[in-house]
Symmetry: D2
Subunit: 350 residues, 4 copies
């Protein structure tokens, strides 16, 4: 066997807000991306510091030897910008880049809703308005063609990624009743890098606790996206589990036709057959550690009980397929790179 690689030009990438977990994951993954160079990282708080000081686990990455945090976003010059900024902040930063013709992948919720009233209701933030560029919801498996043409990609929420991919084939085929229940279990890294009572170790450890039981802002995001391919009423309840990474979503739905487990597996294989990042588990149950550190969404379960309930389970790493990995996947699609470039990590199991 032989392998070879040809000469390439590297694209310049910037990360706005690179101190949190999603910023750190962008850096981890882009370190091994052959088509891009990271030339700017920003942070108001850490301005002037070297990247290895803030993210010691990156020590030794040759590509980042000269990389320091910049405080002023206006100094950023790049071909592609990732905005890993909080909800409400992105909308004040992103337009500046768009005006200069820069392509942006935004990891906040600010551009995920076409209907801004829905955004304003659930995020409790007044929206400044959508920019006049092509915007795409960045779930490649359902929306790849739009992503290709977009100047701005709204990277999906972590729960929506796992929930939508878990049930999309059944929704598309019209095989289930409208009401779908997503019971999700997430790792604590989803709560971000800042300590709170919620993330205090003695509160998390030996517990698994539901929160925002019916009022989580990801519920309307899941619902609106699924309604683009079928008719669904989404009920969603997240739980905080004593793990660091990963979201396991258990989707409960009711079949409208009498089909078997194997029929369902066939439908999923057909639907996701060409997708590199979706792995169908037809005979064993997926595990979070199988996707840990990776951009995979593993889907399994596929059981039907005696009351016609079908259960489908999906696993993602909330920081990768649920955030930074999917953002890079979107970049790859926007830029015409190989879609899996920089995303070939294998699950850190065990």
């Amino acid at each position: 066997m032989i392998t070879k690689k040809i000469l390439v030009m590297l694209m310049d990438v910037a990360i706005v807000g690179a101190t949190g977990y999603t910023g750190a994951e962008l850096l981890r993954l882009l370190a091994r991306h052959d088509d891009v160079d990271v030339c700017y990282i920003t942070s108001r708080r850490e301005a002037g510091k070297h990247v290895f000081k803030v993210h010691p686990h990156l020590k030794g990455v040759d590509k980042y030897k000269e990389l320091y945090f910049v405080g002023d976003v206006d100094k950023v010059d790049a071909d592609i910008v990732f905005t890993a900024t909080p909800h409400g902040v992105s909308m004040s930063v992103v337009p500046k880049f768009l005006e200069r013709g820069v392509r942006v992948i935004d990891l906040s919720g600010d551009y995920r809703f076409e209907d801004l009233s829905l955004y304003e209701k659930y995020y409790n933030i007044k929206h400044v308005g959508l920019p006049d560029v092509k915007i795409a919801y960045g779930l490649p498996e359902l929306n790849r063609e739009n992503i290709k043409k977009a100047q701005l990609v709204a990277n999906p929420g972590c729960f929506p990624t796992g929930a939508i991919l878990a049930i999309a084939p059944l929704v598309k085929e019209g095989l289930i009743e409208e009401r779908v229940i997503f019971d999700s279990k997430t790792g604590v890294s989803g709560a971000g890098v800042n300590p709170t009572e919620t993330t205090h170790f003695p509160n998390v450890n030996e517990n698994i606790t539901p929160y925002k039981i019916t009022k989580h802002r990801h519920a309307p995001e899941i619902e609106k996206e699924l309604n683009k391919i079928g008719r669904v009423k989404v009920s969603f309840t997240p739980h905080l589990a004593p793990i660091t990474r990963g979201i396991l979503t258990t989707a409960h739905a009711f079949l409208t036709e009498d089909i078997s487990d194997n029929d369902i597996i066939d439908i999923y294989n057909e639907f996701y057959g060409r997708e590199f990042f979706v792995r169908i588990f037809s005979d064993d149950i997926p595990r979070l550690t199988y996707v840990r550190g990776t951009n995979f969404c593993d889907i399994g379960g596929f059981e039907v009980d005696c009351h016609g309930r079908v259960v489908v389970v999906s696993c993602i790493d909330n920081l990768v397929k649920g955030a930074s990995g999917q953002a890079i996947q979107n970049m790859n699609i926007m830029c015409g790179f190989r879609e899996e470039e920089g995303l070939l990590d294998i699950g850190l199991n065990p």
Copy 2:
């Protein structure tokens, strides 16, 4: 303030199968029970060993200084017997005690089903037949009067305890559609004391994994009990979580009437108002560590979403209210002791 206690006669108790977690928990709790003495513990494997050798955490319990494991069940002489034996074994041991007029609380699944064909289908064991004595399903909050009169109590499964208590008031009042989904998360101690691939630390840690997704034997147990008080079709999916103790059950149901969160809380307060071991959480969410080591079932959630789904959450310690604590509660009821005797431990939080 003053307190006083009077002279009492102690009842003789035996534990058949006292090497596992439920046996150990019976010993932990009975150590502080003022009305009973533990005079026999059995184990084929550990016969002849002192109880402190097998359960070192009990060291220092004065009551057990002379307690050794007995190998031969026929040597056991007691007023009350707890059988903490595996499914299929109990039915060969329990009848011997019943014949001698001894009262028995059985912690296995062998006597939970009136319809033995259901038992045989889900446990895949041929049943020898039910004994000709008064048998009660040992969930005191729903079945106290029958327990009082029973000679044999079938202690409920751990999942059924949490699931039934979570939804019973709504079922009883006929306020929900037939289909109810229980999405449960359990600690690993529920799998027992013997190491398996399922309980191997690297397989459990950093994972949360569904199992027996639609085929768990506790599903029919939940369904048959709830159908005694209303009409329900039960869908049940358990998940193994990286914690040692506790079951959190998230019950998802659909309301048939337009009632509010507060109406629901009122119904639960009314239903469980006099129950010492059920605590209603009306404004904060229950946590597993609040019930850890205790016989409480904490119930909370009580939210209704925009599609009429109601969510109720229950927390129990699977080894206490889900097994040994409830067994002692049953004994207290059968013997006319104070129902909370020996069960006054407070949740080990954090």
Copy 3:
């Protein structure tokens, strides 16, 4: 067998600073103490709130039905006061109670040092001076007679409790070289109830991290106490482990005489033979879950390697024997109650 209890008068107890973990543990343990009543709990932040609102796991404790937090310490009237206040705060509160003749058990570091310069160096706080009453260092196994007579007991630090008890017999007998190394591993609850970067779940989980590697303030506390019974130079390094409760201390020392493992076990059995709360593990290794929730200090290990190093291991629950349990043990001694009253909980294992 029979049991009986006689009529008793209950003593009035107050807890100053009852919102943290040690305050909560005092409440958990005193709920089942037959000789005292808790009549005051204080907190500036939670003043006016019911105890069940701040500590939901206590719900159902009859004794506390009428217990509300008080904001003003001057309103506290009690026979015995526990001060579970931060270092530096205790010294401003404790003297007020002492002046009124109230006995105080202080859980902070403020009264642990006879030599205030040592305190000021390690705590970086100016000390107001020691009150003119009999003060005792509250480690009953080494200092019971002084505790009996004291009006103020300085409850030991969590690490010192486990470390001193682990090595005291060998120090007393003069069987080891001066230099002793304590390598301790602690649960996160030792860091208190307030969230910080140190206690942020993703920082703790899957890590075990040394901190204050040579500069922890418990090092001089251990050293000064051990030097009361022998000659020791203490080296101490604590590690934060991904567990909630417990401290395991591994003591490494070098023997000055050629004695065997069994000789050492004999020395420990002799030294601690009458101590209810010290359990010697001569043939199995102690575990944190064996002491979880209890006031026991389990000691084991007792191995000697080919270079004459002896290893002794101790396990405590940092919130019980390392704080609130030992405080109650001290109260029992001061008041002439049975020493184990309120402290009969059995380790929550697993």
Copy 4:
């Protein structure tokens, strides 16, 4: 910036015993190694099965699409063989490959001892004798020149890797007394893939437990290697921690000269200055998650206490630098590949 890669021939690699954790890690890392192809994997138990069936987390790795387990080791034909077989088994397999001129990296303990009587004492296995080829102890940072010339490399134990690297510079410079204490904390994956009482989740969780307190077989391995560069008497005690991956070693030694923390840091920077896989933490404390999934050994601490004790801390991933990663590093050295090829993963933090 530009990057390019030239045409290369791939070397054929086999893994004997590829069902355990170290086998799986070899596969994970070699999947991204540009100079080798994995053409054989063996397992008696899993013979005939596809690699994705046994290791589902590898699904999607193009390189392994046609890779099935082989039962018969004699069928293996390769340029390089990794033997990830148990102690005692390697010595029956390795010689066959050596005779054919194949280079072997053995991950067991069978070839780590020049003095076979030491091996036989600590492993309690009769050794068949060392083969007549050049054998090297595979710790590249101390032994690179010998590894280059070896036909057989004995990959070091996991504890010895972290312990030796932590203290080697001080031993080499003769700055510490002979007696060194290594207090190590290891993740559970070090115990292997097979469930035992030791790895049973409820036994591990919420515990941290010393084992083989003075008798672990890695003690003599550490001692003999360090004595090649200085004079040391090694005392070693391992602890099992409730984490999956990683070994943190706390080395306690006593200085013979009065040198400062900064002097020590200089010595370490000098000693490891050119080593890609050793990272010196001079101002923050290393963490296991920083090295998780990587071949790095992070070293920090470097504090001296008032009694002249110096503390140095090292962190490795026991399955990577402590096993499979180091094995690949050794292969790279033996074969003249770039030493970090296939080993560029960044720590999965958090």
